[in-house]
Symmetry: none
Subunit: 189 residues, 4 copies
DNA sequence: GATGAATGAGAGTTCATTCAT
DNA sequence: TATGAATGAACTCTCATTCAT
C-alpha cells in the first residue's frame, strides 16, 4: 500500500471529490472514480484498502486542510476583532477557493452513516483548544466555547450557497456578518 | 400511483427516513426500505414513481413540516425577544422531538446531487417573508435578512450533534445561545 | 370469461397488435397493452386467460382473417391466370390495407417459441386444399403443391418491406411479379 | 468491453442464438444466456454493451455469414442455370447446416422493433449488386432486380419449415423448385 | 364486469472486489 | 506498479398475475 506515484494518488483524490459532488455518495462508484482519474479500477485498490476507507481517508485529509488553514490564519493575532475577522474571512476564502473540497467535507460530515468513526480530526481539536485559550485570556465574552464556535463558523456557511455571480453582494454580507459576530462575542471597546 | 392505504404510505416514509439515517443515501436501497416498511419492493413503486422522486417527495414533506412548525410557533408574537426565543427554542424542540426527521432533512439538503431541483419548499419562503416583515417593522437591527436568518438558525444546529445524555448542559447552551442572538440582532431595550 | 363488451375486446386486440409491432414480443407487457386499450390490467384477464393464450388467440384470429380474405377473392374463378392474379393481388392488398395486422401475423409466425402449437389455422388448411383442387384440375403445372404455394405467396411478401412512398413503383413490381408467377406456374396459353 | 478470450465470446454468441430460438426474444434473458454460456451475468457485459446491442451485433454477424457464404458459392460461375442452382442450393444447404443460425436471422429480421436500425449488412448489399451485374449481362430476363431476388430466395425458405425427417421428399421439392425458378427467370436455352 | 392495490419472481444492469499477468 | 478480465451480490425497476371491492 505504499506508493510510487503520488501524482496518481492525487488524481484519485480529486476524482473522488468531484464524483461525490456530482452524483452523491450513492452514485460515486469505483468505476466512475477510476474513469475520471484515468486509472483502472484495480489501481484504486493499490492506493486504498477499500471504498469506505478511501472515502474516510480523503475526508480526513480535507478536513485537516480546512482547519489547518484557519489555524495558520490566526497565528500571532492577539486582538479579538482581528481574530474573528481572520477566522470568518479565512473560512469564507477557503470555501470559495477550494469549493469542491469544502462541499465534500460538508456533505460527508452531515452523513452520520459515514462519520460515525471519524472524530479523529486533529486540527479540529487544535482549533477548539485555541478558542478555549482565547477565552481563558478573556478575549471573548464568557460564553460556552461551543456557542462561540457555533457563532463564528455556522452563519458564514450560508454564504457558500449563494449565487456566486453577485460577488459584491456576498462581500457586503460577509463584512456585515463579521461585524455582527464581533459585537456579539467581544466586549465593547 | 394513486393510493388508498395512507397508513402504508406513512410506513414507507418512516422506513425511508430510518434507513437513510442508518445507512446513508448510498446504502438506502429499495429492498431495505421495503423490508423495514413491511411491504414488497413492488409496492413501493405504487406509492412512488422511482427512488429519486421518492426521496425528493419525502424530503420536501419533512422540510415543510419543520418550517410550518416554526411559523406556527411565532404566530401572534410581536416582541423581538419573544420571536427569537420562539424560533430558536422551536427549532431546538423540533430537532429533539423529531430527531430522525430533522437529521434526514439536514443530510438531504447538504447533498447537492439530490437538492438540485428542490428549491420548491413553500414554507421556507414564508419564513423568509416573515423575517423580512419583522425587519420592515424595525423589530430587528437593520441587517441583511440573510444574515439574520443565518444567525438565528445555524448556530443552534450544533446542539443537535451534542451527546443527548447531558440534557441539563444542552439546556444551558440553548439559553445562552438565545441570549447571545437576542443581543446581537435586537436593539438594546 | 364470456363478455358483455365486445368493443372492449376489440380495443384490447388492437392494442396487442400495435404494442407488439412497436416494441416486439419482449416489450409487449400487459401493462402497456392495458394502457393503450384504455382498460385496467385486471380487465385484460377477464377477456383472456393469460398472456400466452391471449397472443395465440389473437394470432389465430388474424391469420384466419388473412386466408379467408384470399379464399373469398378467388371464389368462382376458374381461369389459372385470374386465380393467380386474384391471390397475389389479394395478398398485396391485404398487406397494405391491414398493414399492422399482417405484420403481426408475420412476426408471430416466424417465432418458433410462439407458434409451436398453433397449427390450427383452419382457413390456411382450406387454402391448401383449394390449391390442391386446382392442381388436380390441371390448372397449374404438375408441381408439388408446396412449391406452388411458395411461388405464389412468398415473393410478394418482399413488397411489404418497400418504401410505401413510391406507390407507382410498387405497382410496377407487383404486376411484373404476377406475370412471372403466371408464366412459371401455368401452362402456356 | 475489449476482450482477450475469443472462445468466451463465441460461447456467448452460441448461447444467445440457442436461447432465442428456444424461448423467443421475450424469453431470452441475460440470466439464461449467461447460464447456457457458462459465464456469469456480469461477464456478458464485458463483451457487450447491453442486451439490445448484443442481439444486434450477433444478428449482423450471422446475416453477414449467410450472404458471404452465398457470394462464395457463385464465384466464377457465368451460366445462369448454374448460378441459380448455386444460390438456391447454397441457401438450402446453409439453412440445413446452420439451422440455428439461420432461424435466428429469420426471426430477428421479421421483428421490426429490433431491425429498425440494422440495414447495415454489407454482404447483403454485395449480393444485390451481383444480381444487378448478372442482369446487366443479360443472364436473367429483364425483370426488376427486387423481383429476381424474391423469386430466388423467398420460396426456398419454406423448406426450412418442413419436417426434416423426410430428407428425400425435401430434396425432391428442392430440385423441382430450382427448375421452376430457372424456367421463370432465365431465357429458354 | 371492472378495477386499484398488491406481490413474488425475475428482468437488465452495475457494484465492490479479486487475481493472473 | 498497473491492469483487463472476471464474478457474486446487489441494485432499481417491471413483469404477469391475483383478489377484495
Amino acid at each position: 500500500m505504499r506508493h510510487k506515484d503520488d501524482e496518481k494518488a492525487q488524481r484519485i483524490k480529486e476524482a473522488v471529490i468531484e464524483v461525490v459532488l456530482e452524483e452523491g455518495f450513492g452514485g460515486a462508484s469505483i468505476s466512475k472514480i477510476a474513469k475520471r482519474a484515468g486509472v483502472s479500477q484495480a489501481t484504486v485498490y493499490i492506493y486504498h484498502e477499500n471504498k469506505e476507507s478511501m472515502l474516510r481517508t480523503i475526508y480526513i485529509e480535507c478536513a485537516e486542510e480546512l482547519w489547518e488553514y484557519l489555524i495558520l490564519a490566526t497565528q500571532g493575532l492577539r486582538d479579538g476583532g482581528h481574530i474573528i475577522e481572520a477566522l470568518i474571512c479565512g473560512y469564507y476564502r477557503f470555501m470559495t477557493e477550494h469549493q469542491k473540497l469544502f462541499r465534500f467535507v460538508e456533505q460527508f460530515s452531515s452523513c452520520p452513516a459515514l462519520t460515525h468513526n471519524c472524530s479523529e480530526i486533529a486540527s479540529y481539536g487544535k482549533m477548539m483548544s485555541l478558542l478555549q485559550k482565547w477565552q481563558d485570556e478573556a478575549i471573548f465574552k464568557p460564553y460556552h466555547v461551543n456557542n462561540i464556535f457555533s457563532m463564528i463558523f455556522n452563519p458564514v456557511k450560508m454564504l457558500a450557497a449563494e449565487d456566486p455571480a453577485c460577488q459584491t453582494e456576498s462581500d457586503d454580507l460577509l463584512w456585515e456578518l463579521i461585524h455582527i459576530i464581533q459585537t456579539a462575542v467581544l466586549f465593547a471597546p
